[in-house]
């Protein structure tokens, strides 16, 4: 089906358009009926008025002597839209004869003005009519003289009073406004549902939807809450399981570390310890994800610039071969309000990712700028790695997701670094996104309220 050019996209707008079009049609029909009715009424009145006027005048002139007639005609106050004359001939206006129905109508109306039989008009000529907006009527007195009248017959007006028109417009506007209000109100649950689904995507622990309102809406909200609860349980089970394993693994790892100290072969011992470090790093990430580290730490003022430099120093200490490619372009100082341990973990995860997968990390901290969310600092972490395809970028923030589907430890972590970073940064009222960098490589963009 071809999409209409002006067909609005939102459900509320579409419903409103349909309802308003319906309302407009009903109003138009009502107005038309009213106008026709009114015009009919006006015409009848006009005809009656005309007939009575003509006959009253005729009667008054027919009852006086022929000599007094011309004086009486001269004495007639000139009325607007009316011309009266006595003439030996019938009206000579270039008008077609009046329609038969009008002639009949007028003739009938004229009977209402009683005229003595002796004085009755001997002949009546009617020319013109509503179509000409003018009528010429000639009546022949019994003595042969014609009374010729020319009377304006303005076309009937469908709406006579301004009050009616403004009242009608106000009524229409009120109905339209109520329609819009009702539509918005009725479609609001759909928007609420959409934003709830979006919030769930951001945070598994987003609050449930209120299960109120019309029954369909309440049912949908309940179904949504059930689904959210299942997802939450799924993620929680997975996290709890890993946390439990992590806790239980601490003792064997400690034992292995101690045993490794008794391995004579230096090379084997170093490799064992490196494996144990990897194992511990995975457990540490899982434990960090399973508990909300931001909940227990209180915010404090911290120098973000110094934090970035410290993390880069530590990364360089741990990976001296990359030291040259870990650079910072940050102001001397930038004080922000944050939870120091949590924020450090978030930035460590991002910078370590850049170093591990991109082989470098260039951190740029821009001075705070005014954003819709308030004064925010922007932190950009660039690397020179292969980047991440756009379709996969958002997925990287989901727990246990990795670009490598192989789950091979040698090519990456457990898939919690970015989710932890995002959880922490969002808990600070900021956000972190991935984008591709011009000239290749990945760019992580962190926005943090100052």
């Amino acid at each position: 089906m071809k999409t209409l050019a002006y067909w609005p996209r939102s459900l509320a707008a579409r419903t409103a358009v349909v309802l308003l079009l319906g309302l407009a049609a009903v109003q138009a029909a009502g107005l038309t009926i009213h106008a026709f009715d009114r015009m009919d009424l006006q015409r009848l009145g006009q005809e009656h008025d005309l007939a009575v006027r003509v006959m009253t005048l005729y009667r008054s002139l027919a009852l006086v002597s022929p000599d007094a007639r011309s004086r009486a005609v001269e004495d007639l106050e000139s009325t607007e839209g009316q011309f009266v004359a006595l003439s030996p001939v019938p009206p000579g206006e270039a008008l077609p004869p009046a329609p038969i129905w009008l002639q009949r109508q007028l003739t009938a109306e004229m009977q209402f003005v009683p005229v003595p039989i002796s004085a009755r008009a001997r002949d009546i000529v009617m020319l013109g009519g509503p179509d000409n907006e003018l009528m010429a009527v000639g009546l022949r007195f019994p003595d042969g003289v014609w009374l010729n009248l020319r009377i304006d017959m303005p076309a009937p007006r469908p709406w006579h009073s301004l009050t009616f028109l403004s009242a009608f417009l106000m009524m229409t506007a009120a109905a339209g406004g109520m329609t819009l209000w009702a539509v918005r109100r009725l479609t609001r649950p759909v928007a609420t549902l959409a934003s709830a689904a979006e919030a769930l995507g951001r945070d598994v622990n987003a609050p449930p939807l209120p299960e109120t309102g019309p029954s369909e809406v309440a049912t949908a909200a309940a179904a949504f809450n059930t689904m959210a609860e299942r997802i939450r349980r799924f993620v929680q089970d997975r996290t709890f399981m890993l946390a439990a394993i992590g806790h239980d693994l601490r003792t064997p790892i400690t034992r292995l570390r101690l045993r490794a100290e008794f391995v004579e072969d230096d090379h084997q011992r170093a490799r064992m310890l490196a494996d144990l470090d990897d194992l511990e790093a995975m457990i540490s990430a899982t434990l960090a994800f399973s508990r909300d580290s931001t909940a227990t730490e209180s915010p404090a003022r911290i120098d973000l610039a110094e934090l970035v430099r410290t993390i880069l120093d530590e990364t360089a200490d741990a990976r001296p071969e990359l030291a040259e490619r870990l650079t910072a372009d940050v102001p001397d100082h930038l004080t922000i309000q944050a939870r120091p341990v949590a924020l450090k973990r978030a930035l460590v995860n991002l910078i370590n990712n850049a170093a591990a997968y991109g082989g470098s990390a260039r951190v740029v901290v821009a001075p705070p700028t005014q954003t819709p969310a308030g004064l925010s600092a922007t932190l950009i972490i660039d690397d020179d790695g292969p980047g991440i395809p756009e379709a996969d970028r958002e997925r990287m923030f989901q727990p246990f997701q990795r670009l490598e589907a192989s789950r091979n430890r040698s090519t990456g972590g457990v898939g919690l670094g970015l989710p932890i970073a995002r959880n922490i940064i969002r808990a600070h009222g900021g956000d972190v996104t991935l984008e591709s960098r011009q000239g290749g490589g990945l760019r992580a963009r962190v926005i943090l309220p100052v």
């Binding site: 003792t251 400690t254 540490s284 911290i302 200490d317 341990v341 450090k344």
Partner: protein
Amino acid sequence: MMTAPQATAMTVAPRPHLLVIDDDHEIRDLLAMFLEREGFHVTTASDALDARRRLAAGHFNLVVLDLMLPGESGLDFARWLRSQSDAPVVMLTAMGEDTDRIRGLELGADDYVTKPFNPRELLARIRAVLRRVGEHGGRDQDGGRTIIFSDWTLDPRRRRLLNPDGVEVPLTGGEFELLAALLDRANRVLTRDMLLELLRGRQAGPFDRAIDVAISRLRRKLEDNGRNAQLIKTVRGGGYVLAAEVRRE
């Protein structure tokens, strides 16, 4: 109960006597073996009750205490131990249990490592605590107290450095150790070798290689101009001195 001054214990006993309290007997035994090999005399205990018996029976230079004990908790035991003895305590804490760690340090524990710990790091911490005790002629009462110098504040419990405006200036682990070592010996010249000795084992290779780098990073963080450093002064002939009045609260 233990009443003998620790300083004499250090000089009399060439092999410091450690009490290791951990509920996992394998860790206990392995740790004992490891520490014996490193020149300590080690006694082990499996829980708080056992530990009390051992403490009553002998004299210990240092206690290694696992906070996750069955029965009476490690924290309760640490509180009791502090009231009874001057023996310094190094805690073994669970990864991520920051509140336990901080409470332990507040109760007077001298240092901590998180499980699963690196045995060499534990060894370094034990040696550092014993050295502090030896130098101060008794248990280091100042271990957990806040250090104030030149309007800067160092909180050893949380390993936090606050600048004169109260803004946290992050430190790497090595920088913290270095600053703590300099503050412990404020206004005394420390050669590079002495600093290396004090910090050995705390961090692997890179730190040893770059004590000057660490000093320059610290100076930058303390806003101590490198050319004309006032706080951490370079001493001709290869050494450093932290020149400031140091208060502890």
